[in-house]
């Protein structure tokens, strides 16, 4: 089925003679066979968004439809790999076309030559349905890849092969209820714009441990939850995303670089193979899939990239894994949507964005969640979706940020004034929120006792109070405050500097376990309690603020992950001791 181009305007191509093509079909355009997707049909005319640069394309050139919607290949070989927005592996593209991305390159997403050791799980005679595991492949040292029965096939296993196979080899034959035999390989295809099915969805109740103190303790996110990281440029969005990709306690991380900097992707590519997962010591790259559609790559493929990413995430979720999808940045995706909408001459909504912006965003985030997977073994998996938002001028009243805020449950608001003061992560503790606090509270209480969440509320309360007191200080000066208020400000400063600030580039501080977080905050709050008692006993305020233990608390976050408990005990003892001395000194005088 082929048609002829009648119009070319940037990434938008109109072709006629495609009456039999379907909306959303992938087409190959021109003699270079550029990849495109049909957006609209009018009579036999199709409007096509082309995922590659269209320079040199003109009327008369041929358009061929593949008859298939935009799909991804799912199977072993995705981990430890880097793809462009339409799932073409970038290292293979480099081998074919050199340092720059030439056009019309056709590379299969999964390596066709690599052999995998397929270990059968199902036996001939087993009754299987969609999602049932046929066998497993050790994809990387960290991840066991489960080969599942594709959607739509139910029946009896006729045969299974074991041993070394390439992805296209038949590894199992299933005879369905009508007697048709399906030859199954290790590859599944799935259209990216459609969510993969599951049996049942649950409310998320387990937190995702990120090792970041402001996130885990103050604004936690649940596994299967959604979060947004908005902030102006230079506020550290990308560093927050990288930290989450590195330290989150999920099984798989899908990192989508959507319209962002090329060097940032290179950074991830170079750093992740070196970094070790704190839980199992494996290189982080072994659990990561990177999707890189940098800002200079074609804009239409940027639009597709977040769907490619979340579909791969759903596939791993279906194996029963916890997956995190990090999209940096959804604003660039929205801009790609706006650009295509403008070329289609659609009626614009707010700020030129198409009217369907909010519903598309909602559809994306709704693909996150904790589910009971397809298959009969009742395994559960989750997809956690975290999107960066880059609002123009840092002003979150713009459409993308607003539409995102309506959907996501966690909001980590980055603040440029914090970034200027080099307070990182620059997440503002007054404007951020997490709606998972209630559903996660029972987990925290079960694990660490009631003190964990109680400490959190107390710390938040002190920070709130500080912001009110700061107003007063600004008007009348610090001397007008009572000693107790001065102490509140001092404690708040400790919470900010000694607890919330976390240096992503210092090894000792980049990851903080729950236990370490809890103890650190506990010491600071203990200081507050002891000083308050001391003030009641008439101790000298400035003496309390100047005790030597304060400097030790300031450096406590650098304590070694293994031996921190002993260090913290020592600091606490010293602190008690010194405060007692200040009290005694006050009584003598």
């Amino acid at each position: 089925m082929s048609g002829t181009i009648t119009k070319v305007s940037g990434p938008l191509v109109v072709a006629e003679g495609l009456a039999d093509a379907n909306v959303s079909d992938v087409v190959r355009v021109g003699s270079q066979r550029l990849i495109g997707e049909i957006l609209n049909m009018t009579g036999d005319q199709a409007s096509i968004q082309v995922y590659e640069e269209t320079s040199g394309l003109g009327p008369g050139a041929q358009v061929v439809t593949t008859g298939m919607p935009m799909s991804v290949e799912l199977g072993p070989g995705m981990l430890d790999n880097i793809y462009d927005g339409i799932q073409r592996p970038l290292p293979e593209m480099r081998a074919q076309s050199g340092d720059c991305i030439a056009r019309g390159i056709d590379v299969p997403a999964l390596n066709r030559e690599k052999k995998w050791d397929f270990v059968p799980v199902a036996k001939p005679g087993d009754k299987v349905g969609p999602g049932d595991v046929l066998g497993t492949v050790q994809e990387t040292s960290a991840i066991l890849h489960k080969i599942m029965v594709p959607n739509g096939i139910t029946g009896e296993v006729v045969s299974v092969e074991s041993g070394e196979h390439v992805v296209e080899d038949v590894v199992a034959v299933v005879r369905d209820t009508k007697g048709v035999e399906h030859k199954l390989t290790m590859i599944q295809r799935w259209p990216v714009r459609i969510a993969r099915p599951y049996q049942k969805k649950y409310v998320p109740r387990r937190p995702m441990n990120s090792g970041q103190r402001i996130i885990d303790t103050m604004f936690p996110i649940a596994k299967g939850g959604t979060a947004a990281v908005p902030g102006p440029f230079g506020s550290g969005k990308t560093v927050v995303q990288h930290q989450l990709a590195k330290w989150s306690d999920v099984d798989i991380v899908i990192y989508i670089g959507c319209g962002e900097r090329g060097n940032e992707m290179t950074d991830v590519l170079m750093e992740f193979p070196e970094l070790k997962d704190p839980r199992n010591g494996e290189p982080l790259m072994k659990r990561t899939v990177l999707i890189a559609n940098t800002s200079d790559m074609p804009v239409a493929a940027r639009e597709a990239s977040i769907y490619t990413g979340i579909t791969i995430a759903e596939y791993f979720r279906d194996m029963g894994y916890d997956v995190a999808v990090l999209a940096d940045s959804t604003s660039r995706w929205a801009e790609a949507l706006r650009e295509m909408s403008g070329r289609l001459e659609e009626m614009p909504g707010e700020e030129g964005y198409p009217a369907y912006l909010a519903s598309r965003l909602a559809q994306f985030y709704e693909r996150a969640g904790v589910v009971e997977c397809m298959g009969s073994d009742e395994r559960q998996g989750s997809v956690t979706a975290i999107g960066a938002v880059s609002p123009p001028g840092g002003d979150i009243s713009e459409p993308v940020a607003q539409a995102t805020m309506r959907i996501v449950k966690v909001f980590w608001a980055l603040d440029s004034s914090l970034a200027y003061a080099r307070h990182f992560p620059a997440i503002n503790w007054l404007t951020s929120y997490s709606l998972y606090l209630d559903s996660l509270e029972s987990w925290y209480t079960q694990q660490f006792g009631e003190a964990y969440m109680a400490n959190r509320s107390k710390a938040m309360h002190i920070l709130q109070e500080e912001s009110e007191l700061q107003e007063i200080v600004r008007l009348v000066g610090q001397d007008a405050l009572s000693a107790s208020d001065r102490l509140t400000m001092e404690t708040a400063k400790m919470i900010r500097e000694d607890f919330l600030q976390q240096n992503a580039f210092v090894d000792e501080d980049a990851y903080s376990s729950y236990a370490k977080q809890f103890r650190l905050l506990d010491i600071i709050l203990r200081y507050d309690v002891l000083c308050r008692e001391a003030l009641d006993k008439g101790a000298d305020m400035n003496g309390l603020f100047a005790i030597d233990a304060r400097e030790k608390i300031g450096r406590a976050k650098m304590a070694d992950a293994e031996t921190f408990a002993a260090d913290y005990d020592a600091i606490e003892a010293q602190m008690k001791d010194e405060i007692a001395k200040v009290i005694a000194g006050g009584e003598e005088a």
Binding site: V8, G98, G262, D296, R338, Q478
Partner: protein
């Protein structure tokens, strides 16, 4: 055989419609021949059936619909490149204007370039010493980085950019260095300032100048940075040179883009700029970088003037989202007589972390950098409080911080346009300033470092 069309149907500068065309493709370069024999250039923006919408690079003045001829050249705009470009001056479209001969091309390259494969990039990690403390010490530039200067009308960005071009060097390295300078819609005087500076220091022999001045056609400016970057890519990746690209002024470029977009009647985005401004700017900025297995590199310093000094204006805003940091000049510091008036708090280099530290600069670099930032930020807050409430309202610590902020501006930031400080000098100066602060407040530097580097009183 190239066909000629006498079917120009419509001209609404800078757009022109040619009908009954055959075989014309998107983004193709074209020429218009006027009755007088004068030839002007254009490129195809859209083709629909036998109708082509083209964009003129020069003025439409004098084009006669009936007698002018249009022809299409069958390829996008290209630049003839060769090593002989060094030391030459070209116009904004890449044609020599210094009276010298045409370039004997070693290759013809498409000025749009191709996106660099992220898997082929090499991460920028080599420290460039610019001799400017606020950059070397606090916002370190590395090879292959794109670090713009955000300036305002009347601020001395040209002096800072020229100083960087003059002083920049990679420590312990003797690679060939080249400068590609693109004047985009700036005045003759500003352009001469740079060229004279290159001439004075002898850098002119290693410099390629592309010049589109304020009175040159505005639409040509859309091509100028692309032409310049094509030359830079050739020198860097074919000829193994370390290329520094200075693009000034990006604001003029974006305005030319807006002009064409408005003529095409596109739905405008913020402040009338087209919705694809981000993508368009990215296709320029992302051409900076290093590639694996290649010796050369492109380091880019775009300069832009922020309208009304507003950092949230679309041009600086979108630039900041693409580039790897920014150096911001401050009018307040300029008024105080601080040279260069770099506003260090909102300035940032995203790639600094990989370019500093032991083996690159010095082990204490990261710690002192963070401490100086934090100290200056707190000092500025204290000074603000002091102007409202008077000095008596400050705590003893805050008074020290206020003093620190003053000294920092006077000694660290204000170094003048001719001082070339080595990184050791910059770091030592940092320690000297930190010694003003109470020791217990120095939480961001390791105690061992304090022992080792803090000057003993």
């Amino acid at each position: 055989m190239i066909k000629e069309y006498k079917t120009i149907k419509e001209i609404a500068s800078p757009l022109m419609v040619v009908e009954h065309v055959e075989g014309v493709t998107y983004d193709e370069l074209g020429e218009i021949e006027l009755p007088s024999g004068e030839v002007r250039r254009c490129k195809v923006l859209e083709v629909e059936g036998d109708r082509a919408v083209v964009q003129l690079f020069e003025s439409a003045q004098g084009i006669n619909l009936a007698q002018s001829k249009a022809r299409f050249l069958g390829h996008p705009q290209q630049l003839a490149v060769s090593e002989d470009m060094l030391g030459r001056v070209f116009n904004g479209m890449g044609q020599p204007i210094d009276g010298g001969p045409d370039i004997l091309a070693e290759a013809h390259m498409d000025i749009n370039g191709l996106p660099m494969n992220p898997a082929a990039r090499a991460y920028p990690a080599e420290f460039i010493q610019t001799g400017v403390s606020t950059i070397d010490g606090l916002n370190t530039l590395v090879r292959g980085q794109k670090l713009p200067i955000f300036s305002g009308s009347g601020l001395p960005h040209a002096a800072l950019a020229a100083q960087i071009a003059r002083q920049a060097r990679v420590l312990g390295d003797n690679e060939t260095f080249a400068v590609v300078f693109a004047a985009i819609g700036i005045t003759f005087e500003e352009s001469e300032y740079f060229i004279n500076d290159f001439r004075r220091t002898g850098a002119i022999d290693r410099t390629v100048v592309f010049s589109n001045l304020a009175n040159d056609p505005a639409v040509e400016r859309i091509a100028t940075p692309r032409v310049a970057l094509t030359a830079a890519e050739y020198l860097a990746f074919e000829k193994d040179m370390q290329v520094l690209v200075i693009l000034t002024d990006i604001t003029n470029y974006a305005e030319a883009l807006r002009e064409v977009s408005a003529a095409k009647k596109e739905v405008p985005g913020r402040r009338g700029y087209p919705g694809y401004l981000y993508t368009d700017l990215a296709t320029l900025y992302e051409r900076a970088g290093r590639r694996q297995g290649k010796k050369g590199s492109i380091t880019m310093i775009p300069i832009l003037t922020m309208p009304e000094d507003d950092k949230t204006h679309p041009i600086p805003d979108l630039t900041g989202y693409i580039t790897e940091g920014q150096i911001i000049l401050s009018r307040e510091l300029h008024r105080k007589g601080i040279v260069p008036p770099v506003d260090v708090l909102p300035s940032l280099s995203r790639l600094k972390d990989k370019g500093i530290g032991e083996g690159k600069t010095r082990e204490d670099h990261a710690g002192t950098m963070n401490q100086l930032f934090a100290g200056y930020s707190r000092g500025k807050d204290a000074k603000e409080l002091m102007t409202i409430l008077g000095e008596a309202a400050l705590s003893e610590d805050d008074k020290l911080f206020a003093k620190f902020a003053d000294e920092f501006e006077k000694r660290y930031v204000s170094q003048g346009n001719t001082t070339n400080r080595s990184i050791q000098e910059t770091l030592d100066l940092g320690w000297e300033l930190l010694s003003i602060l109470p020791r217990r407040e120095l939480k961001r530097v390791k105690p061992e470092m304090i022992e080792k580097y803090m000057p003993k009183k």
